[in-house]
Symmetry: C2
C-alpha cells in the first residue's frame, strides 16, 4: 500500500487541480459536524455569501454542488432544459463541446457556433446565431481551460436576453482569478470548481442561479431528470428556515472551501487578479528562451492558464517524456494538450496560490536543467 505520508510534494502547474493552500489543507482535517448541525448550517450560509462575492452576484441560490465542476455544468443543463428545447452553445474548446454533449443528453436540440481552438468565440457570429435560433438557453465558456482563452461576455449575454434566452456561463477556471460579474453581465446560471483559482481540492462545484432561472425551473412541464442535481430539492436544504435533508453535504470539503473563500476575501479580488496577471506575464517571458510561444493572442489570453506551443525541438524529442522528467525529477506537473491540441501544446496553470513568480522560477529552472 502507498503510504500517504511519503507522497512527494508536487508543484501542480497543470490545468487543475492546483495546490491547495496550507490553511485549506488544515481546514480539511477539522473534526466533522453533522450536516444538519446548526453550526454547520451557519458555516454553509457564510460559504454561500463568499461564493456570491467571487461570482459577482446577489443571487440567493448560490451554493456548492456536492460533486466536481462537470456536475455543476450538468446541474445547469438538466434544470434549465426540457426535452425538445433549443440550446445554442459556443464551442471553442473541449468544455464547450462537453456542454453540447450534456445538453443533448437532457433532450435538447443543440445548435453550435464554433471557433478555432485558441480563438475566442466571435461575438457577431454568436449574436447572429442567437437571433436566428432564438434558443431557450445560450451557453458558453468564460475561461476555456482546454485552450487558455478568456471570452468577452456582456454582448453575447445581452443578445440572448433580448430573445428571452437564459444564459449559462462556465466559470470553472475564471472564478477567483479574473473578474466574474454575473449580475452586471446578465448571466442566469454559472458553475465553477474549487480546484483552480480557489486553491481547494477538487470535490465541489459552486453554482449560482438567478431568480429568472429559478422561475424557469418552477415552470417546467417535466421533472428535472437528475434527482441529485435538482435545484428545487437542493433549495430545501441550502435555503430557508427549515433545512430539510436532501443528500448528506460533504462537510470536510465545505470546511476547505470556507477557508479558501476566506483567503480570497483577505487578499481582495482585484489584488488576486493582478497577481494572476503578473505570474502569467512572467511565465511567457520566462519560457521564451526555450522557444515556447503562447497559443492565444495577448488580448484573449487567460492569466491563470497559458497554452504554450511547443518548439520544434521538443515536438521531435517527445513532449510527453519532457513532462515526465519535470514530474519525476523536479516534482512539477504541467498539463498536456486536450482534443485537437493534444501533442501540440502544454497547458501551464498558475492558479490560486500557485500564481506567483516563485512558481515560474521553479518551472524555468527545471526546464533549463532538462533542455541544456
Amino acid at each position: 500500500m502507498i503510504d500517504l505520508n511519503t507522497l512527494p510534494e508536487r508543484l501542480l502547474l497543470g490545468p487543475g487541480p492546483s495546490n491547495a493552500h496550507p490553511r485549506v489543507l488544515d481546514a480539511l482535517s477539522r473534526p466533522l459536524l453533522g450536516h444538519l448541525d446548526p453550526l454547520f448550517i451557519e458555516l454553509l450560509d457564510e460559504v454561500k455569501q463568499g461564493l456570491r462575492n467571487v461570482f459577482g452576484t446577489t443571487n440567493a441560490f448560490t451554493l456548492p454542488i456536492s460533486a466536481t465542476g462537470s456536475a455543476g455544468m450538468e446541474a445547469c443543463m438538466v434544470n434549465l432544459l426540457e426535452p425538445g428545447d433549443n440550446i445554442l452553445v459556443g464551442v471553442n474548446g473541449v468544455f464547450g463541446g462537453r456542454m453540447c454533449e450534456v445538453a443533448s443528453r437532457a433532450g435538447a436540440k443543440v445548435h453550435r457556433v464554433e471557433a478555432a481552438f485558441g480563438e475566442p468565440l466571435d461575438v457577431d457570429a454568436m449574436v447572429t446565431a442567437i437571433r436566428a435560433t432564438r434558443p431557450q438557453l445560450t451557453a458558453f465558456v468564460h475561461a476555456e481551460t482546454s485552450t487558455g482563452v478568456l471570452q468577452r461576455v456582456p454582448e453575447i449575454a445581452a443578445a440572448a436576453r433580448e430573445v428571452g434566452s437564459l444564459v449559462v456561463l462556465d466559470c470553472v477556471t475564471s472564478v477567483a482569478g479574473v473578474a466574474v460579474e454575473l449580475d452586471e453581465w446578465g448571466i442566469d446560471a454559472a458553475y465553477s470548481g474549487t480546484q483552480k483559482c480557489l486553491s481547494c481540492p477538487p470535490s465541489l462545484s459552486p453554482v449560482s442561479f438567478s431568480d429568472r432561472a429559478l422561475e424557469r425551473v418552477r415552470e417546467r412541464a417535466t421533472p428535472v431528470q437528475s434527482w441529485y442535481l435538482d435545484v428545487s430539492l437542493l433549495a430545501g436544504y441550502y435555503e430557508g428556515a427549515k433545512r430539510a435533508y436532501h443528500h448528506t453535504a460533504p462537510i470536510s470539503s465545505i470546511y476547505g472551501l470556507s477557508e479558501g473563500l476566506q483567503l480570497v476575501e483577505e487578499e481582495g479580488l482585484a489584488a488576486r487578479e493582478a497577481r494572476h496577471r503578473e505570474a502569467a506575464a512572467a511565465l511567457i517571458d520566462g519560457v521564451a528562451e526555450f522557444g515556447f510561444t503562447p497559443l492565444v493572442a495577448a488580448e484573449h489570453r487567460l492569466p491563470m492558464l497559458t497554452s504554450l506551443q511547443l518548439p520544434e525541438a521538443i515536438l521531435n524529442s517527445g513532449e510527453a517524456e519532457l513532462r515526465g522528467a519535470l514530474l519525476n525529477k523536479h516534482n512539477i506537473e504541467v498539463g498536456a494538450g486536450l482534443g485537437s491540441l493534444a501533442g501540440q501544446i502544454w497547458r501551464v496553470g498558475l492558479m490560486g496560490e500557485n500564481a506567483r513568480i516563485t512558481s515560474v522560477d521553479r518551472l524555468v529552472g527545471a526546464l533549463r536543467e532538462e533542455l541544456s
Copy 2:
C-alpha cells in the same frame, strides 16, 4: 466568520456522517497530487481493490463516484434503466422511496412492493411481484438508514435473476459494518457512502457493477442521461492502461477513503462486524432504563443504526428539545426520525469508529443527566 479551529468536537451518533477516524482526517490534509499523476492512479487502483474487499466482489468496475451516496443510487438507476423499462422496488423506508423517485426520473415504470417502516421486505411478496412483473431491474435496500432494518438478500436476488432482471442493492450503511457479499448474493450493481461505517467524511459514493450490468449498459439503445455518472465514460479514467480525463477526481477525499479502507483491512471485516454488534447491544441495554425501546425486531435489526421508540415522557416534553440539549450541552448528535417516523423515533448510529462501548457510555451518561 466562524473560525474552524473553534468548532466543538461532536460525537456524531446520528445516521451519518459518523466521526471520521483521526488517521482519515490526517490523510485529508496531505498535499495534492494531480488526478492523472501515475502515483495517484496507483493509489486509485489500491482504493478500488479495497472497495472490492468491503463489497465482497471481484467486479472490475468498482470505484468511488465523485459525489455522495445518493449520486451512487442515481448512477445505478440511470445507467441500468432506459425509458419505458420496468423496475420493481422494495420500499420499507425513505431510501426505497428515493429509489422509486430516481428511477421514475430515468423514465422507468416503477412497481413498488411495500412493507411497513420498521419491517423488512417480505421475501415472498418480493418474489411473487418479481415473477408477475418480470422487471428489467429489481432494487432494494440492504440497510435501511431511515428505520434501522437489515434486509435478507439472497432469495430476492435469485428470484430476480431467474426472470433475467438485474439486481441493485443499496449498501450505503451496511458496507464495512456488516457482511456484504455482492458476488455470493448475485447482485449486479451496488452503491455505498463513505460517511457511515467507513469512518470517512461524506463526499464519495463507492459503487460496483457486475459484468452482466456493464453488458446491459453496452446494449443500451439510448445514451445514459447523465454525462457525469455514465459508467462507460468513468471506465475510461478508472480502468485500463491509458487513463483518459473525464472529470477531475476528488484527490483529498480519495486519500481519506484510502486510509479508511486501510483501517478496515487492519481490523478485519469479521472483527469490525462483531464490534458493531456489541456496541448496538450495549446501546439497547443502556437506554432501556429511560424507556427507549427498539423499533425493529431483534432478527432484523441493523447493528450500526438503531431506531429507538421514544418513551411517552419524552414525546410529551419534546424530543427535539432533548436532542438539542444533547447537542449543545454534551456535544452528542443523535438523529431524528424521517418520513412517517418523524417525531416518533430517534436514530442512533454507532458506525465505524463510533461503534464502541465508550460512545454508548457517553450517550447514556448524558441522557441520565438530562432526564434525572
